[in-house]
Symmetry: D2
Subunit: 399 residues, 4 copies
Amino acid sequence: MKKVVLAYSGGLDTTFCAIHLSKDKGYEVHAVLVNTGGFSEEELKTIEDRASKLGVASFKVLDVTKTYYEEVIKYLIFGNVLKNQTYPLSVSAERILQAKSLAEYAKSIGAKAVAHGSTGAGNDQVRFDMIFQTILPEAEIITPIRDLKLSREEEIDYLKKHGVSMNFEKAAYSINKGIWGTSVGGKETLTSHQTLPEDAFPTQISKTDREEITLAFNNGELTGVNGTSYDNPVDAILKVQELAGPFGIGRDIHVGDTIIGIKGRVGFEAAAPLIIIKAHQLLEKHTLTKWQSFWKNQLSEFYGNHLHEGHYLDPVMRNLEAFLADTQKFVSGDVRVALMPYRFSLIGIQSDHDLMSSKFGSYGEMNKGYTAEDVKGFTRILGNQTAIFHKVNQTLENE
Amino acid sequence: MKKVVLAYSGGLDTTFCAIHLSKDKGYEVHAVLVNTGGFSEEELKTIEDRASKLGVASFKVLDVTKTYYEEVIKYLIFGNVLKNQTYPLSVSAERILQAKSLAEYAKSIGAKAVAHGSTGAGNDQVRFDMIFQTILPEAEIITPIRDLKLSREEEIDYLKKHGVSMNFEKAAYSINKGIWGTSVGGKETLTSHQTLPEDAFPTQISKTDREEITLAFNNGELTGVNGTSYDNPVDAILKVQELAGPFGIGRDIHVGDTIIGIKGRVGFEAAAPLIIIKAHQLLEKHTLTKWQSFWKNQLSEFYGNHLHEGHYLDPVMRNLEAFLADTQKFVSGDVRVALMPYRFSLIGIQSDHDLMSSKFGSYGEMNKGYTAEDVKGFTRILGNQTAIFHKVNQTLENE
Amino acid sequence: MKKVVLAYSGGLDTTFCAIHLSKDKGYEVHAVLVNTGGFSEEELKTIEDRASKLGVASFKVLDVTKTYYEEVIKYLIFGNVLKNQTYPLSVSAERILQAKSLAEYAKSIGAKAVAHGSTGAGNDQVRFDMIFQTILPEAEIITPIRDLKLSREEEIDYLKKHGVSMNFEKAAYSINKGIWGTSVGGKETLTSHQTLPEDAFPTQISKTDREEITLAFNNGELTGVNGTSYDNPVDAILKVQELAGPFGIGRDIHVGDTIIGIKGRVGFEAAAPLIIIKAHQLLEKHTLTKWQSFWKNQLSEFYGNHLHEGHYLDPVMRNLEAFLADTQKFVSGDVRVALMPYRFSLIGIQSDHDLMSSKFGSYGEMNKGYTAEDVKGFTRILGNQTAIFHKVNQTLENE
Amino acid sequence: MKKVVLAYSGGLDTTFCAIHLSKDKGYEVHAVLVNTGGFSEEELKTIEDRASKLGVASFKVLDVTKTYYEEVIKYLIFGNVLKNQTYPLSVSAERILQAKSLAEYAKSIGAKAVAHGSTGAGNDQVRFDMIFQTILPEAEIITPIRDLKLSREEEIDYLKKHGVSMNFEKAAYSINKGIWGTSVGGKETLTSHQTLPEDAFPTQISKTDREEITLAFNNGELTGVNGTSYDNPVDAILKVQELAGPFGIGRDIHVGDTIIGIKGRVGFEAAAPLIIIKAHQLLEKHTLTKWQSFWKNQLSEFYGNHLHEGHYLDPVMRNLEAFLADTQKFVSGDVRVALMPYRFSLIGIQSDHDLMSSKFGSYGEMNKGYTAEDVKGFTRILGNQTAIFHKVNQTLENE
């Protein structure tokens, strides 16, 4: 019997795939749920129970949160990556890592086929296919939902017929949760002019009083929160989320280009990602030189876009990561952040690597290292070429 | 008698310069206040009255708000320019235009010298000198404050001796006001770890109830607010400021590289600039293609930095403006924005040029223009090179 | 009868298409040869004679050399575009313009289908399809060669059966000729390690004595050669080709990424394009400022790649062209070039806009505009940030 | 007695400095010649003999060719750096390393002053000062030539008076020789319109018959020539120079922006640098992916410019080097090059990492990995956004 590894999430589509592939198609189905931080223990238990009744040969949960951090999130922080200046790539980043983990698992058990439940209408199909065809070039990629083009009702009928009992009600908003943010799609995000209502967001707002927190960074990585150190940066991220989430911080709507060329819009809430990226960025403003900042911004934008579009395995991504990692050598210090309902503000930083160090002159006061005459000379030379340009071309003659 | 045009602001330093240049140095001083929107009629009257007593040959107010918009602000909006992702370049942009206006005025009256009151410690001296040496290559540039290195007390004594009566008390925070934002510097901004207190900001918060406003853009320019059209975009900007300012929106602290190589930190409040830029950017997300957005971001960052550093007259700036202007051809439509205390959120847009138009397929639903098979083929080819790379180099063999 | 516009070149594949579409498929075939400078009058006559016997409803030659120059070549010169630092995009640029001209012609005669003879293995199919689906979104795109996957022998048999007499012998090298260069593909270019033999190149070398020529540029456009002015820049290009071609100048092999992700290799000879681009570039080195050159290079590389990949109609291309055109304002003057067998060298330039003008100081001699003290001050400030960085981080302590 | 380390080259200016600093100024002068490959044993002996008579406390030759390669040249090869598409940065790169070596030597012997013989008119003063002020922030920088502004004749008189006998005749062309190329400045390079005469170049042309050579690269580094391996890449570079130099290959004139804002022009001959860079680049075209090439080009241009302008110690340079080094992982293989009088041509490459490997499909033939249908789907999706853009905006309606 041919082994297939199925990307399983416990939802309607992948439950359909599990039954369809094993019962209709005769595959030995190995259902794998790749957990990037979006599932509680309870949820996983429920999913596992149900999976056992679908005729699959095995069901496995791969907890990849640490790998997710090391291989993806870390660089999104180094690069302060917010797609279109807004979105921390919550879902895009997750899919990449899920696809990669699945492909490696398939290779490890010798499966010659992989399956996913994506439709033919979105980004995820491209991300899964691209990663699979690279890591498993010989494997068959099976996508029942995309190929059969079933309606939701047809899927439900099929599942009922096969004795599956689950909540078949369509949620008003489709939610995708992970450690790097939660996406929220629904009625309003299909239009251009409406915003999501308050109750579309899963987090309940339970804090209203201003709080201050301190984030400690070490070579660009979040290693402490409020004085507590964390060996695993994932725990530090979860701590920030725990503290800031109840304020309703980090909600917004992302509008951008999908891989397939149309525009897409999706809501999200991502308190920890937003706070961590902005705090990290402030620390960088104090510790990097001008051209380090410039090139980091230029390259990070491409890095984020290329990741979003599923090109994670293009070797240029490793090259860019080498650049980003190298910039973080002195990005160490504490950042103080104030949390308030729906917003946060950055108070300031303390760092041994702060280039604003008053030892070397303060802005607005005369500096120990140079004189007013130096600045005059500097300016004369700095403006030399532009001055020559206008003289040669007499562009300012008649103004 | 040698004519000198003095950049006059009515403050301590330039008042000192006016007297010093006319009485001690024997120049025919033409004091010019270049108004970029930071002075009320009353303030101008007071300044004019005082100027007439300083022995200057003439005093003139140049109202350049319209030129400021046409030559600078317009492109800052087209480019969504926020230096270091934060600061709308309020002061930097203003200085450039002031220096340029002064130089042109000096040329028009045949003055062979120009003077400004900058110290030797900041960015402004570089901006003034660079513009002056380009537009007036033969003119002498006189900078008494920078050269004499007087203390505040010495200046005050000098002014008192010359019979000047003005408020000599040092304000707790130095404020620079203009149509593109107000900067706030003081005790806390000289450190890295403190933020400005609420009362450092000049605007009083008087609105607390959520309001919604609609901004109308035409080819990237703000032409209407709440249904009212404005012939002069400056008026539209002032209207947004009037509506949003009382919410305390747009306050933040900018940290960045000064022209002279040290780090600087400055607070600001800039409700209108922030709202207009973010609204404009959202409209662009709906109307520009992926690569238009990418290159706009890359080039705008450089444009903002180069402007900040005083290189406004480098011809590359005109080239970049030609690019930016060309991208705005279809950036037209309405953006709806919600205003709340200390923050705003973008609700959505309506535009005839919205590429998310449902006529051509919606994200997450199958599209009229292509099939699932197309996407499969697309992905196979799109991932071709990366797949070949890994096969050739056997990089994934042992994973 | 359904009208189809067929991209016709007179070769084996498109001759097959003409008969197949009219006789087997019953289309009203309008065969169109888009001439971008690769055909002589004689060749066109021969092709026309043959076309008349293939059962097509009409045959038409569109001479688009002027449009080709105005819409494509001009910007390739402005941008000094050499793909992978080598290839003037001879074929890529031509295909774009051919596809665009065909699509516009199809629209003008109300054809609801367009056909081209590309195989499924190369770049051209993508370029044709992309342009067609944008300009003619409702039209059917017909590609018999790609779809039928016939062997060369099968096509020949088919043509013979239909009474076509033409030279069926396969040339050792496939040649594509146009005003912006001639491509040469064959046995050696299918490998990575061999170069093309001398006789693979169509041009015979008939000049051996060094000659000097002068190219006159006006706002970046070639307007004169050896003292003669040309109203139509196409004629100036042809003149350069006439003078330089017989030296065997401009031969090389391009290796690069195809649109479909594999690497491709193709020989070319392009005397005029190489000489014009390099001469233009030298003139720019004398007339542009540092940052104009920098950004031109960065953007032109993308422009060339995007064009090569068929994205000519992406509006970002117009934006980049606006930038490029704006940089050419002062790129005017004469460039003197020495021609020798297989190579050329740039002698120098003369231009009223030369920023090396000795009026403003010569390199290596003290300048009128500044003093040695100015340079000292300049350097002190210029190196300020790097010096502070190393002090703060004590990176050089133990070296 | 105050120790000063003098950058000594044996020429007129630094010989003057040696005597002036020791005899007139009373310094303990430590003359250091930093050899980056431009001096023969004989030349060094002559210089040493003369130095011993100038009253200096010590004379030392630092042979830094290996360091020069490891810290600079290696990255110029990785980045295929040719400033303004022409110049291998022969002199600029050398000055940086010389300044750095001198500063480190001064630190090691506890000298509190450093001296160099630059004039106030060129780039070198900026490079020396920038490196010195960063590595030796407390040290005095002494520049007698720049400060005293002596004429050549005054210097000669001074030296004669102090009993120095050397060749005081001014060479027609000033030559600067090093392992990464030889610069040639003189009469013609002070103008824009003339080229250097044949005899201005130091290398005599003694080979006329075509030769082929093979360069072996390993992770981007040149490790073999014609089948011989070299432990020290400097020896491999010298071997290429020995083989190619006598052909007169690699001569050209560089025109570009000096650090001080004026344009400069300098001739050079650099057979080995040109051949190595172009061979390396060809190997990269076969082994890197499209986006690796794109970003390498963009970043390398900045890297070369920033190095040229003396910013070697800006930490962004280390970050860019990390990127460049990471791209070289699979840039290994052999490149075959044909040498001819005044020119060379690249024949082809052989590499295990060649992405053109015929195992994965050849350009122009149908590929094993995908079908014509795949390409159709690919194109449909790839052109999706542009097609939507034109539909929405009806830009093509009336064409």
